[in-house]
Amino acid sequence: MSSTKPNDNTGQSPRRNMITCRGVKKWFGDFQALKGVDLDVGEQEVVVVLGPSGSGKSTLIRCINRLEVHQEGIIEVDGVELTNDLRNIEKIRSEVGMVFQLFNLFPHLSVLDNITLGPIWVRKKARVEAEKTAMELLERVGIPEQAAKFPGQLSGGQQQRVAIARALAMEPKIMLFDEPTSALDPEMIAEVLDVMRDLARRGMTMVIVTHEMGFAREVADRLVFMESGEIVEVGTTEQFFSAPREERTKKFLSQIL
């Protein structure tokens, strides 16, 4: 445990903290998925979380918008602590966009309605305005011509781009990506990564769980390596790939690179 203190010499940015995790612990029954995680994500920072499957990466980012409830420790998002207060949670969720591995689009709504649902019902925008924004976002992710179709008629890559547009329509301060390309055919991965790259360039605060190493190296400000529920190493992209300090990180990198 002592070797896994994060944040020591990690290129911690001077920027304002958007996400703060302190000693976050989470159990599923007897199984401890998170064993005291400390993590800071600054404004406009892109953090990529790496690690073998079952290491708790997804659980961690799902705790950040409380799709999972952590049992110990503190998580603060944009200065607001996550508690059981329902209104608090709904507010934080509306400020944090989430993109899932399996897209989770609403199959009974058209692409346009999928995107305008949140703005209309949560942000209380007028429909006309919401639809205008939605079309701009579809434009941005490159599929404005699919607006009237239903998710079932789209390819996986297109669906994931709609899912990103849906999250962006809420004008979130933070975007969480939970293995956004893992369920996609190889030829569709690039189109999704392009959209994410564009987002990173525009200065969105992002936490990304992914296995796309090339992409991670390209867009990440910092990389986090997790294993068995704890953060093993945090470092800037360059340091992480060229000079990893921990033995476990080296082993992981040698396996996948």
Partner: protein, 598 residues
Amino acid sequence: MTTVINANVSSQKSWFKWVRDNLFSSVAGTIQTFAFAALVVVVLRWLLGVAFAEKNDWTAVATNMRLLVSYNYPLSQFIRIWVAAGVLLVCAAASLGAWRFDPALTVKRMARTFYSVAVVAALCALLMPSSAPGVLVRTLWLVSTVLAIAGFAASAVASKRNNLTVSFGALLTSSVVGLLAILWFVPFGNYGVVGGSPFANPGDTVARSTKEPWTVIFTLVLFTFWASRALGTKTVAIVRSALLAFWLVGPAFLIFVVLRDPAFDWQRVWAVDVPLAAGFAFGGGLLVYLLAKPTRSSLARLVGVALSAFAILNWVAGFFGWYGMLQKVRISMLLLAILVLILPAFAGSQSKRLRIAVAWGGFILVLHWLITAINTPSTLVISAPPFLGGFTLTFAISYYVVLASFPLGVLLALARTSDLPLFRMMSTAYIEVFRGVPLITILFLFTVMLPLFLPRGMAVSDLAAVFAGYSIFSAAYLAENVRGGLQSVRQGQYEAANALGLTVFQRTLLIVLPQGLRVSIPNLVGQGIATLKETSLIAIIGGFDLLRIANSTIPNQPQFLGQKRPGLLFIAMVYFILAYTMSKSSQRLERRLDAGRM
């Protein structure tokens, strides 16, 4: 010209090919085809033999048509049934128009339908027993020939322009015009009983008292359909919300239109019921509006406690008979007290306070309306002398039971799948209890026992009791059907909705229910069909529904002694047509909701 002939040849060829590939593709297939054809012929021949046996007197049905439709409903009041039926049909037509209902009906498919009906009609004509009236056989041949020609013409047109479709409006218009023409010009015969013996004027069409209202209704139906279709985008939005409002509350008004006592005490309504409803709606609304201010939450709690104490005192007083009070005052008082008690949790901005107050007012108005409607002594008493019966009763009960049990069932299903253990337990208990009891027991319980438990001065008419009991029973089954659908909604959908920041209520209404209900449509329609057919059980508790009239009323008339078969066959056909229509429209709905979705 040659192209047409070629097209016909090719279509004939493809028809031939279809028969060969599907019916005679192998030895086993050929045997099956012949065996099935033989079975159809035998069964049809038997059915027709039963229906048109020598001893069957179909004038028993024709003469008793009014009985079958509405039983003893007084002729002088018949206009009310016409108005209710007319309003329903006209609003249905307006809805079809306003929502731009226009399924793609290809001419090709129409041709196929024409052909198949023509074949069935010809088959029936061939297999008619010799005892069948000659005019019927001749009519069947005529229908068969006309449809065959129409089918041929349609397929000729379709072969020229393959994807030609007929608009729903054209179909509706031509069917309505056709129906009206049949009503006015086809000599069905005019049946009646004069001086104790049945008579029929074979040359006449149906009675004017029937065809005139239908003419008016059908004309209005056509007019509203085309008018609502022609509306612009802005007006259509208003019309749509008006129609939705009608479908939500209209039925409650219509049942009152049909069942209201001719000697209804309007004076009492204006002197007591209306002021009470208005007082609670506006007074309560004002109170709620004033107390919903966040700064007044302690005052709200105080008022809430005081109101609750008073409301509970009213019930206790009612129980011991200290002082009299209308039951609905007690109910409204209690509801208001509960609302004020929980008000601090909803306190908020001015617009929010206004919304709560308006919601309360609307709720109270509807509630008082329902209580007045249920409590008003109507002329309908199910035990003798019966007032309303026959098809109208069957239709009204099944319609209102489906209407009432649907929201109740959905709420129960949501409660049973909710995270709150109290809701879950209550809903499970309700469902298990009411599913475990036979419907007939519940009907007896509600008509016989319920009045004994009611406080003094409160009466429930038998129809209301049947309606309430049946709805409660049906909701338990419906809840299980809906629950099956809700469970098919994947976890990811909940997560995606949560991640957008939707509230639990929004998530349920916008994401979970639409998907869950779509999956449960087949089961829900099955439940609806069962509800329709099981209304025949009210015969056992003294109602004169279709079955009882056909099975015991008509056979006991001196003119038609023992004539059971025609009546039973007739109502079987009525039930079948209703159930088949429901099943067909549910299939259409499923297809429409399924288009392009996962």
